[in-house]
Amino acid sequence: MTPEAIPFLPRGVRTHFDAVRNTPVLLGPERVLMLDQIGDAVLKEVDGESSLDAISARLAAAYDAPQADIVEDVCEYLEDLVNKGLVGLRHD
């Protein structure tokens, strides 16, 4: 994964607020992922237009953390979802 890559939720994958369990979830084919605070924060920034770099910069500002660390966390988190087919990557 390169910092210029743009992550997006492919069709068939969407976030949803589970009111019964009071938690955000990611729904995909045969997959339900309960999102923790980090997952929720990252996926909220995945808008299909922002690059990993841009997402990390916003999160670094919001959480007052070094962007180098955040970029690593974001890539690691999203790479797992890419391998599961729940996130796509675009290179413009």
Binding site: G12, R14, H16, V20, R21, L27, E30, N83, K84
Partner: protein, 359 residues
């Protein structure tokens, strides 16, 4: 503490143009006249969403045999459910597909019976079925509707594993379920014809491993191994009454699709009780929920919370005792029963006369 269910399988109908000999429907099929009507189903979907269900699988039979399929998909999406259509594709038309797409159908799981018309139509028991399926698959791809291919593997087609995955990619599927046939329902009486050989299974596992790496990022491969060849039982339903429930065409609510084979259980119906009442208090759901029901061997086992005591329907089918240790488990005193079956039935010499699923 009982958690709410995550998934619901709605078997809208048992009607189906295909006659696959491994169909998971029960031997005793429900007639059209006994099916829940549109209003019943819509109410069940709304109840399910309130109960905590997130994913709805519209299945059958062939769900496209229901004339109100579109209305049901609209209602399911309105209830907030992730809506998956499990179909053979036969019975769908480009127009119906367009309507379902516009209604917000989230995903389609398309079953395939073989990699070409000759094999597929023989297994499906329906001439021309393969061509119709491929036609609708093209339309699914053209509309970019998220697609999973579901391939039930057995002795006749497990050697076509790689070609089956190629087919999935060719049809634009992002995911494939390669499920070795589970011996319940109609598959149980076709076991002699369908049971793969040990050599086939070993080879299949190697192929799955290699292909999963090779196709990573393009195709997600979910493999369901044939459990007669496993050392430990499958964690049926992720634990009885823990994550999912099934509603049959007439509204009977089951902890798993084969549960009606257990004669000691009684099942409630959505026409008489609420889904919530059935999930939390129904006797069938509580019969094997948690760990208290387990034989001592399972209760004290380190895999207790991995296998959840295996499959009750399998203990019933193979031993006639739904309370017994799943005989697939290598620790079970009844494991020789499974070994004997595998030895006798999978030598490839047995005549493969398929008994087709018919109403």
């Amino acid at each position: 503490m009982i958690d709410p269910p995550i998934a619901m399988l709605a078997e809208l109908t048992h009607r189906c143009p295909l006659a696959c000999p491994y169909c998971s429907n029960p031997q005793e099929l429900t007639a059209k006249e006994e099916e829940l009507d549109t209003e019943n189903w819509v109410d069940v979907f709304e109840q399910a969403a309130r109960l905590g269900v997130l994913q709805l699988h519209l299945s059958g039979g062939e769900p496209a045999s229901r004339r109100d399929l579109l209305e049901l998909v609209v209602a399911a999406r309105k209830a907030g459910l992730y809506t998956n259509l499990i179909t053979s594709g036969v019975g769908l038309t480009p127009k119906k597909l367009e309507d379902l797409d516009n209604a917000g159908l989230d995903h389609i799981q398309l079953s395939i019976q073989g990699i070409n018309a000759q094999i597929a139509d023989r297994i499906g028991g329906y001439k021309g079925g393969f061509d119709r399926k491929m036609h609708i698959a093209d339309h699914i791809a053209a509309r970019a509707i998220p697609l999973t291919l579901n391939a039930v593997m057995h002795r006749e087609n497990i050697n076509d594993l790689v070609a089956t995955m190629d087919m999935a990619e060719r049809l634009g599927a992002r995911r494939i379920e390669v499920a070795c046939v589970q011996f319940h329902g109609w598959a149980l009486q076709n076991r002699t014809a369908l049971q793969p050989t040990r050599a086939q299974v070993d080879r299949a596992k190697d192929i799955i491993k290699a292909e999963s790496e090779k196709r990573m990022g393009r195709l997600v491969i979910d493999f369901v191994p044939p459990d007669y060849y496993s050392d430990f039982p499958k964690a049926c339903m992720g634990g009885w009454g823990s994550t999912g429930l099934n509603v049959t065409p007439n509204g009977t609510v089951l902890p798993c699709h084969a549960a009606e084979t257990i004669p000691t259980l009684t099942f409630a119906n959505v026409k008489e009780s609420s889904l919530s009442e059935i999930w939390y208090h129904g006797s069938a759901f509580n019969a094997y929920r948690g760990t208290d029901w387990m034989p001592a061997l399972c209760q004290t086992c380190t895999r207790r919370d991995i296998d959840f005591g295996g499959c009750r329907c399998q203990a019933m089918a193979l031993l006639g005792d739904p309370d017994a240790v799943d005989p697939v488990c290598k620790k079970s005193p009844d494991r020789p029963v499974v070994d004997r079956l595998v030895t006798v039935e999978s030598d490839g010499l047995a005549e493969s006369n398929l008994i087709y699923r018919r109403m």
